[in-house]
């Protein structure tokens, strides 16, 4: 089967194009050895099947990040038959910078000139025929979001298979050209898998990957050291020359009107303004949570709850009617429906939250949020871009922590990772919801907003603390693209949302099911004990731990056990509570076992304490250190505990 690779800048519409070509025929995995996501899909053209590999979006193919290395290694070593390079037609020159590098590698490139409709409405005039001739690559106009040009792109791509190409050779000026030739000579007859001229250029570009690869050869290493001594590393000159080349090629071929005030500019005047920027952002987030609450809980949640209740009764009755063993009935009704069912009730809520987060991302607003937050973030020693990882954390801390990869400097990244768990993820939402339902049925939206606000506040305070203590001195800088505002494509919003909901469902079916099962077994032992009683094994463990939480107001064995179950997965907290109080209605049970104040302190604890196992594992992977993962697990626990105690003790003075 032929393999086609898809590359392009971030915001070039690459993912939309990938979805438009492969439809639902795709799967997501990981590139071997790294944590970069690998998306692969299939499409059929004229009865033949092709593989399409979506490479990570990047501006360049240097060794700046894992993403870039993955992308260029696939182009060079994965032997794709064709590389489709997606280009934003409204921003051709900058996008061509990546194209030039692909051509220098000798890749068989087809250009997809995407967002062509936008370029036309902006009156950008492109002489496609001549551009194609000068670059010596086929160009197809597309608009992935409107599915324009996709068939034509596939036709041209398939026709290009087997097209003979040779690497583009740009002149980098007499001086650098001479050095390229010198290094090429040294590389000759050496057993490296990359094209020689490309390697020579990369060495002169100070590419750490390639330099460390060739340094195994003492002769070449000595030569590079000599170059360094003579200050002959031409990193920046090479970039300059590539842009010169692009400007030369595109001269007269691209005409764009100057000084037009676009819709994006008009929106930005307000959304990024000094006075309105932050308040609008706060308003948007408050609205998102209010809507999530209204639609996800009050409206949809009710249906799902009665549906699950209906199924539970049905199954239970069925089991009883066929004389199933009592133990099985108990497991199904209390363990499974009491535990996993309690989590499933919140699926609509998660769906709605993810839906809104996907819209914020898709419209381009997320970048503006980072912009307006930059000043505030700077005060705590961070930068605006860190805020994006925080917002992503609202969905789930795992991708939140992974998204810190876009932060160029180590200090920014470490702090952003360490504070991410305070951004309350979707899995913790069910906990607040059951407590809000039991104690604050009237002011749910506000309470929820306050919890999230407390999370953000703690994150900012800890960021400040870390930047003053653990990571002193290092300077941070903010570089971010502000993509044009776009109407979100419902297709990609739903796809994005579905991927995350599916993750949630999978966890409900695996980790949470496992936790609930273990807890159920523990609650049945030792044999003969009354299930779910204080005398059961589970009750004894909980009772042993409970006194720790007495100062925080929730020193019951059920509360303690559920908090520890929550370290496996946050969804398990509600599941565990549901099971432990079963068959009593959870809301009723909470009203009996918590006071309004201890409900608040419990929610504060859940918000701040040790993140779930998956998050801790991600911290270990991303920081490459078990020490940081452990540090994270412990400091968050202490912080959550101290805050919960403070809330309860200070609150007790007033109530």
């Amino acid at each position: 089967m032929h393999t086609i690779a898809l590359v392009g800048n971030p915001n070039s519409g690459k993912t939309t194009l990938f979805n438009a070509i492969t439809g639902s025929n795709q799967h997501v995995g990981n590139w071997p050895g790294v944590t970069v996501e690998k998306k692969e899909g299939f499409f059929t053209y004229k009865d033949e099947k092709y593989t399409l590999v979506d490479l990570p979006g990047s501006y360049t193919l240097g060794a700046f990040s894992e993403d870039e290395i993955v992308a260029r290694d696939f182009v060079l070593k994965g032997n794709p038959d064709v590389v489709i390079n997606v280009i934003d037609a409204t921003n051709i020159k900058r996008n061509l910078y990546l194209t030039i590098q692909l051509l220098e590698m000798g890749a068989n490139v087809v250009l997809a000139l995407n967002m062509i409709d936008e370029a036309k409405s902006k009156k950008i005039n492109i002489d496609i025929k001549r551009l194609s001739e000068r670059l010596n690559v086929p160009i197809v106009e597309t608009s992935a979001s409107k599915k324009i040009g996709v068939d034509e792109l596939l036709k041209v791509t398939v026709e290009s298979i087997g097209r003979k190409t040779k690497p583009l050779e740009i002149s980098y000026g007499k001086y650098i050209d001479q050095e390229i030739v010198n290094i090429q000579k040294l590389l000759e007859n050496k057993d490296f898998l990359y094209p020689k001229r490309w390697m020579a250029i990369k060495i002169l570009e100070n590419d750490r990957e390639i330099i460390s690869l060739v340094s195994s050869d003492s002769e070449i290493k000595a030569y590079i050291d000599k170059l360094r001594e003579e200050d002959k590393i031409f990193e920046l000159d090479i970039v300059d020359k590539r842009y010169d080349y692009i400007n030369n090629i595109t001269r007269e071929l691209i005409k764009e009107p100057e000084n037009v005030l676009t819709t994006t500019d008009k929106f930005d005047k307000v959304l990024t303004s000094y006075i309105f920027g932050v308040p609008i952002f706060a308003l948007i987030m408050a609205t998102v949570f209010q809507l999530t609450f209204k639609i996800g809980q009050d409206f949809l949640g009710g249906y799902v709850e009665s549906f699950i209740g209906y199924i539970a009764t049905l199954v239970e009755n069925l089991l009883i009617s066929i004389n199933a063993p009592e133990l099985l009935v108990s497991f199904i009704s209390e363990g499974f429906f009491g535990g996993v069912g309690a989590v499933l009730v919140f699926v609509p809520l998660i769906v709605v939250l993810y839906f809104f987060l996907a819209i914020l991302e898709d419209t381009g607003y997320m970048a503006r949020a980072a912009y307006v937050m930059d000043s505030l973030m700077r005060k705590v020693g961070l930068q605006g871009k860190s805020f994006i990882s925080m917002i992503v954390g609202f969905g789930c801390n795992v991708p939140g922590i992974m998204s810190t990869r876009t932060l160029e400097n180590k200090k920014d990244r470490m702090i952003a990772i360490l504070i991410n768990p305070f951004m309350s993820c979707g899995a913790r939402l069910p906990v607040y919801m059951v407590f809000i339902g039991a104690f604050f049925p009237k002011n749910g939206g506000i309470v929820l907003f306050l919890i999230y606000a407390l999370g953000i506040t703690m994150a900012l305070i800890m960021a400040k603390v870390f930047s003053k203590t653990l990571f002193k001195g290092e300077e941070t800088h903010f570089i971010m693209e502000l993509p044009p505002y776009r109407l979100p494509s419902m297709n990609s919003v739903f796809r994005d949302m579905w991927e995350k909901v599916w993750e949630f469902l999978k966890r409900a079916g695996t980790v949470i099911f496992l936790v609930v099962t273990i807890l159920w077994v523990l609650s049945m032992l030792p044999a003969g004990v009354e299930p779910y009683s204080k005398e059961s094994l589970l009750g004894r463990i909980g009772s042993f731990l409970a006194p720790i939480f007495t100062p925080a107001g929730f020193g019951t064995w059920q509360a303690s056990v559920s908090l520890f179950a929550g370290i496996a997965a946050k969804e398990a907290i509600v599941g565990t509570l549901g099971m432990l109080y079963s068959p009593m209605d959870l809301t009723e049970a909470l009203r009996m076992n918590f006071t309004t104040l201890s409900a608040i302190s419990y929610m504060v604890m859940v918000l701040l304490y040790t993140p779930c196992a998956a998050t801790i594992a991600t911290v270990k992977r991303e920081t490459n250190s078990a020490k940081w993962a452990l540090f994270m697990a412990i400091y968050t626990f202490l912080l959550g505990y101290i805050m919960a105690v403070l809330v309860y003790q200070i609150g007790s003075l007033f109530i």
Partner: protein
């Protein structure tokens, strides 16, 4: 002159960036290389917003102060 001194809606040419290697190369590759003409769209509080080729780029003030430019009259 440095980038933060340029008024909104004015154009300037990049002369030199005196920042660490990594950041400088990043900026170059994003189109802020020597001689590139950029337009300042916003320069009040917070990051400076530039138009570089077809796209908008926000740069933190600390970084923008390290970018030497030359005003272009139109």
């Amino acid at each position: 002159m440095v980038l933060t001194e340029i008024k909104p809606n004015c154009k300037c040419k990049i002369k030199n960036i005196s920042k660490g290697q990594m950041a400088t190369k990043r900026l170059y590759e994003l189109g802020l290389n020597t001689g590139a003409e950029v337009k300042v769209e916003k320069n009040d509080f917070g990051p400076v917003i530039l138009r570089v080729y077809g796209n908008k780029l926000a740069l933190g003030r600390g970084l923008a102060e390290q970018i030497e430019v030359e005003e272009v009259n139109n």
